[in-house]
Each structure stands twice: as C-alpha cells, then as structure tokens.
C-alpha cells in the first residue's frame, strides 16, 4: 500500500509547468482581452480604456460581415471535403498495390510544406497570366483565353479552398489510416461472405467503426479552416476586394495594415469564442456514445 504522505504534493510538482502555462497561455490571452478593451491605434499617443467599443465597431464594420460569411463558407466546405478525400486516400494507402511504398511518403509532402510556401505553389498554378493550369487548359484546347482564377471573386474562393484542402489532407489521412487499421479484418470477410458490396461495406462497417475518429478529424479541420491564414495570405491576400478575406486575415489586417491593435485583439477574442462555440456545437450534435466508445 502506498504511503499517502508521499503522494500529497501534486501542486508543487506541477508548479513549474503551471508557470509556463501562465506565461504562454494565460498571460497572452489576458493581454489580448486587455488590449481589446482599449483604443490602441499606433498613431495615437494614448491608449484609453473604451470598454466594449472595439467589439461593437468590429461587429458592425462592413468587412466583418463579409469575413465571417467567407470564413464559415470556407470552413463548412473545406472541413468535410478534407475528411472525405482523406478517407479515400487512407483507404487507398492501406490497399496493397505496386508502388504503395513510394506513394505513402509522397502523399505526406504537402504536410511538410509551410502554408505560406504552399500558397505560393498554388499561386503559380492558378495565376491568371502565367499559371500552370491556364497553360495546361489552353494546350488541351479547353479554354481560348486565360482565366483570371485569382482575380474573380468566385473563382478565387474556390482556388484558396483547393489549396487549403491540399495542405490538410496528409495529416487527416494519417489519423484516418490509423483508425482504419483498428477494424478487424474478419468483419469485412464476414460481410463479403454475406454478399455485401464495396459501398455497403463502407457505409455499414468502415464508417461506423471509425466514426469517432471521423468526428475528431472533422473538428480539427473546422479549427484549421476557421484559423487558416497563411495559404490565403500568400495566394490572394484576402482579395479580390474582400472575396477571400477570412477572419484570421482580418485580424492581421486590422492590426498591421490599419494599425488598430485594439480592434485586432477584439477580433481575436471573437474568433476564439466562435471557434469554441462551433466545436461545442459539433460535440453536442453527435451522439454521446460515439466518442466514449472509441
């Protein structure tokens, strides 16, 4: 039997780590909230307390409505698309075929590329004047004139979504691949004996067996979609107009383009609340047994 006397100092042992958490999490969050309650415009000599005015100004600004709609649209399209594509890739990479050993690391490459660099790669593909895609389509005779992919509001939205999904698929594939390996093979064998086809096996065995991981991946991708910044910044910088301005980019623009650190901080807090609310909504929407079972 363990002596209780020697197991009574958890706080003391945790203290060094808690200091780090306070320094790198509590303090920045607290400081952001503090900033959000002050008028911090870099060209002004003072930083007066203005209560919730930054929040009101941000929420009623013309760009906020556009940015929030863009962000939600971006998130609800890219997150499920990433999960679906990743599930397909994960299944493919678990299938034995010639060249699988080469394909597996190749699929991971986008994960190793920083988002800003990935953005530039996709810029070269989608560029209206010298982009790879236009050259390819023109050569095939599909188009007669170059398409300004990134200078048309609707096309630009599509292009940044494609680039973002490309950066997200590898990690999601790994998560789903790990989950797929846990499904016992005999279930599939039994299903095959019973005459279940590929789609039946997918919807009756694969998805139910890994739905917990699918939900986790979906939540993760929602967070990534909501906070995506680097790909958009390097591809379109929010343009044309505000067509691809996401909330995270808007935070940057408020702080470093419009020099309003107060509003930037208010936006950061708003974004944290939205992210939290969205995750809670997803968790609440799914049956409780799914995650527990996993």
């Amino acid at each position: 039997m363990r002596d209780k006397k020697y197991a009574r100092y958890p706080i003391e042992w945790l203290f060094p780590v808690l200091i780090l958490v306070i320094l790198f999490t509590v303090f920045p969050v607290g400081y952001a909230i503090y900033n959000s309650l002050h008028r911090i415009l870099l060209v002004l000599p003072t930083t007066p307390f203005i209560g919730l005015k930054n929040y009101i100004e941000v929420l009623t600004s013309i760009y906020f409505k556009e940015a929030i709609l863009n962000t939600l649209l971006f998130t609800v399209t890219t997150a499920p698309a990433t999960v679906i594509i990743s599930l397909g890739i994960a299944r493919l990479l678990l299938t034995k075929f010639y060249g699988r050993a080469i394909l597996r690391p190749v699929v991971l490459i986008p994960w190793a590329i920083p988002g800003s660099v990935a953005g530039i790669l996709w810029l070269w593909i989608f560029h209206g004047q010298w982009g790879l895609l236009n050259g390819f389509l023109l050569k095939l005779g599909i188009i007669k004139n170059y398409i300004p992919w990134l200078m048309d509001a609707r096309l630009a939205k599509f292009c940044v979504s494609v680039a973002h999904i490309w950066t997200q698929v590898p990690f999601a594939s790994i998560l789903l691949m790990a989950a797929l390996t846990t499904i016992p093979k005999d279930i599939y064998e039994a299903a095959e004996v019973d005459g279940a086809g590929a789609f039946r096996r997918l919807f009756s065995i694969t998805i139910p067996q890994i739905k917990g991981m699918i939900i986790i991946t979906l939540i993760y991708e929602c967070i990534m979609g909501l906070t995506s910044y680097d790909v958009v910044y390097s591809m379109t910088a929010g343009g044309p107009g505000g067509a691809t301005t996401l909330l995270s980019y808007f935070i940057w623009a408020e702080a470093f383009k419009l020099l309003s650190f107060g509003r930037g901080a208010a936006l950061g807090v708003i974004m944290a609340v939205i992210t939290f609310a969205l995750i809670m909504a997803i968790l609440k929407a799914i049956p409780t047994d799914i995650l527990v079972k996993e």
Partner: protein, 465 residues
C-alpha cells in the same frame, strides 16, 4: 539521515503544504499572472519611463570601438545597384558598415510596422509619402531638420510635390530616393496604325478601345495594374481622377470624392464599365507584368509609374521603341506626383553615433551632387526630385531615347500631390479593397465611395477630434 531527521523534514514539508493550500496556490498564481500582466501594460510603461528617466538621462553611451553598423531597409527594387552603391559608400567611409535588407513592395508597409513595433534594430529606411505622417506620428521616424539644419539647403533643389511629400508638420524628414509621376502610357504604333490619336479624354479612351477591339482584334486594349495590396493601386486611381480635374478632399480634409457627380465617382464608373460592360479591361498584378503584357502587342494603353516607360521602350523589350506617354486624359490633364525617400528612424536618431553615420549615408545617397539619383535616372529611367538633374546633359541624353522630354516636363508641371495625413496610409489600406471591388463590379460605385468616405470621416474624427 536518521529517523529523527527524516521525520523533521517530512513535518517541515507537510507544514509547507498546509501553508500553501490549493486555494492559496491558485490565488497566488492568478495574482502573479495579474501582476505580471499589470507590469507589462502600456500604462505601466509610462511609469517605468518616469522612474528610470533620470538614470537614462545620466547615462551617456560610449563611442563605439569599431565601425558603426547601420541597418538599411528597402523594398526590393534593383538590390544589386543598391549594394554596389553601398560598397562605394563604405569604401569612402571605412568607419561605417551597412547591412542591407530588402522586403517585397506589397508587404513593405506591414513588415516595417512589425519591425518598428518589435523594436528591431533599424536605422535608415525607404519611406513613402503616404506613410510619413503615420510613422512620424507614431514616433518611428525622425525629423532630419531637427538634427541636421543643413538639410534645408536641399529644399530649393527639390521639386515642389516631392518636397511636400517628404515634409511633415513643416519639417523635412528625408532626402529623395525616387520621385515620379503616374502617367498615361500607350503603344504609339498600334494607335497610329489604326488611325487613333493619343486620347485626350476618357471618352476618347473608350472609343479607342472599342475601335481597337473591332478593327485590330485586340480583345482587351486597356491593361490595368490590379492588386489591392499595392499602395500605388490607390495612387493610380488618384492620378486618373486628377486628370479629370477631380479631387478627393477639400481644404478641411472632408471627403468630396463620394459627393454626387464627383469626378472620382465618374471615373470609378468608367473603369467598372470598361471591365464589366464592355469587357475591354485586362488585369495584371504588377507593373513589371504590365510591361511584359504590353510588349506582347495584345494591349495598347495603361496607367502606371512613368519609369516603366523606360522598361517598355528599351531593349530587350520585344516592342521597344513603340511606346509613348501623353498627358493624363481629362479636362485638367493633371496627374499624381510623389516621392519616395531615405528616412532616418527614431532609434537611430537617439544614438548620436548612429545618427551621425546615418546622416552621412542619407546625404551621400539622397543629396550631395545627386550622384546616386543620377545613376538611377540614367541606368533605369527612374524619376527624380532633384531639380538640377532636369538639365543634366547625361540624364537628358539617356531619357530622350525612351521618352518625349517636352511632354514629360509638361506633365510634371501639371502634377499634384496626394493628400497625406496621419491616417492616409491606414485609410488607403481600407479603401484599396473597395476600389478593387468597384472596378471588378463586385460592389456598386456608390457603395464603394460611401464606405470609403465613412471610414475617412471616422479616422479624421479619431485623430483630429
């Protein structure tokens, strides 16, 4: 360690544990965090400043033992030439070393703000006319006139619009690196071959575009430098509105561009129609790409920095020699003139040794006998603010190859400044995406103008009361 000692130690630890209960610990941790937060608040910074004021004043920095290292930050244009000029300067001044850092033009403003805000060592920078009031008000750049009264000698030798762009609250902040106009440029051969005169008005521009589309099968005769991240995206629009005789603000800095029937509204509508209704407008994200596009012969007209005419008209450009400029279309034919300049940071100004070294550098590059400006003008066709260079035979000889000097001088006399305030830079960042929407037809002209005016008024109230 005997049993008694063990027991004593254990009791001591337990006593400590009792003294620091969980609640006490949490209280302490929150208190520490709050205290740390409070100590780092901007308000406390003022207190520190007061507390340590005397100490700071008494402290005199010793003279550096080796050469003085200066950080020179520029936007990325012709870095090899800059480095070559630096090498020549440091050869003549072995006590000064210059470390050159270049950032892309579209992100230059944001990057510099980060450098300033992060207190990254920065001594001399390229500055722009639209950023000077903002950076001066924030205390990031220093008025050279306060430290070096000799700088006044350059005022008489500087073009008026450039001098105004380098001056804030009556004090000169820099010496010019480059000054230019945003002009109307066209392919003279294409226009002549199709019996079109250089357009005198924007209606004439539309007629020319329609004729070129019909007769010369040029699908998009007008090409526009379209990138909302570029500060000159706004400047180019201003230049065109100036050509129409329009203005953006009245003498009291009230926005007049959104007034019904303003030239700014008319011109935005013109650009939107050219793009959406007639489909005659092509986009290009940067002037260097406009140059390439114009040299394909698929476009005949554009508006951009005048120095690009040199790039278009000189070998190895494919259609070199075919391009020309004319007065900005419109009733007044005015255009935007501006200056970019060498500026000293406040950081450098506060250190007497770095300040002196930085001034030597700025004067060598932006003043003196204007050797550097002349080199850029001759080699690259870059515009300049130094009036003596206007009559320099080498400059005239180099320029007449690619530009009609008389036409250029005529345009220069009609050039006007932009309106520069502490908030112009920030407002321009806000307004440029709106311009992009307006031209592209993603928003109505009235929406664009009203929203722009509203933001201007908001900034004005905030900064002027």
């Amino acid at each position: 360690m005997d049993e008694k000692e063990k027991k004593e130690r254990l009791e001591a630890l337990e006593s400590l544990h009792r003294k620091v209960s969980r609640r006490d610990f949490i209280k302490g941790a929150v208190g520490t965090a709050a205290g740390a937060g409070l100590l780092l608040t901007p308000g406390m910074n003022h207190l520190y400043a007061q507390l340590f004021k005397k100490k700071k004043k008494k402290k005199k920095k010793a003279a550096p033992e080796g050469p003085i290292n200066l950080e020179f930050v520029v936007w990325q244009y012709s870095l090899e030439t800059i480095q070559d000029n630096i090498d020549k300067f440091t050869a003549a001044h072995p006590d000064i070393r210059i470390n050159l850092t270049g950032y892309p033009w579209p992100t230059y403003h944001d990057t510099l703000v980060l450098r300033f805000k992060g207190k990254t060592l920065t001594d001399i920078i390229y500055n722009g006319e639209d950023w000077l009031p903002e950076w001066a008000a924030a205390g990031w750049v220093a008025p050279l006139e306060d430290y070096f009264p000799d700088i006044k000698q350059y005022k008489d030798k500087t073009a008026n619009y450039a001098l105004a762009d380098m001056t804030y609250k009556g004090k000169l902040y820099g010496l010019s690196y480059y000054a230019d106009l945003i002009t109307f440029q066209f392919n003279e051969k294409i226009l002549t071959d199709n019996g079109i005169d250089p357009p005198d008005s924007w209606d004439a521009v539309l007629d020319a575009c329609l004729k070129l589309k019909k007769d010369a099968k040029i699908a998009k005769p007008f090409i526009y430098e379209y990138d909302q991240n570029l500060p000159n995206f706004y400047s180019a629009y201003v230049s065109q509105v100036y050509g129409r005789g329009g203005d953006f603000f009245d003498d009291d800095l009230n926005p007049v561009f959104a007034d019904s029937g303003s030239e700014a509204i008319k011109h935005m509508q013109f650009l939107q129609d050219l793009k959406v209704k007639h489909g005659l407008l092509a986009y290009s994200p940067h002037e260097s790409k406009v140059n390439i596009a114009m040299n394909t012969g698929q476009h005949a007209m554009t508006v951009m920095f005048n120095y690009m005419l040199a790039a278009m008209n000189l070998p190895p450009s494919r259609l070199a020699g075919q391009f020309n400029m004319t007065l900005m279309p419109g009733s007044s034919h005015a255009c935007l003139g501006f200056a970019k300049f060498y500026c000293m940071t406040q950081q450098a100004a506060e250190d007497e040794y770095r300040r002196e070294a930085a001034w030597k550098f700025i004067e060598a590059f932006g003043g003196g006998d204007y050797r550097i400006a002349k080199r850029r003008a001759v080699e690259k066709g870059l515009g300049f603010a130094a009036l003596p260079l206007m009559d320099d035979p080498d400059v005239i000889a180099a320029w007449k190859v690619w530009i009609d000097m008389n036409k250029f001088k005529e345009q220069a006399t009609l050039a006007r400044n932009g309106t520069q305030t502490e908030w112009t830079g920030m407002w321009s960042e806000f307004f440029r995406p709106l311009i992009a929407k307006g031209i592209n037809g993603d928003a109505s002209v009235s929406e664009v103008m009203d929203q722009g005016a509203e933001k201007w008024i908001e900034y004005k109230k905030l900064l002027m009361g």
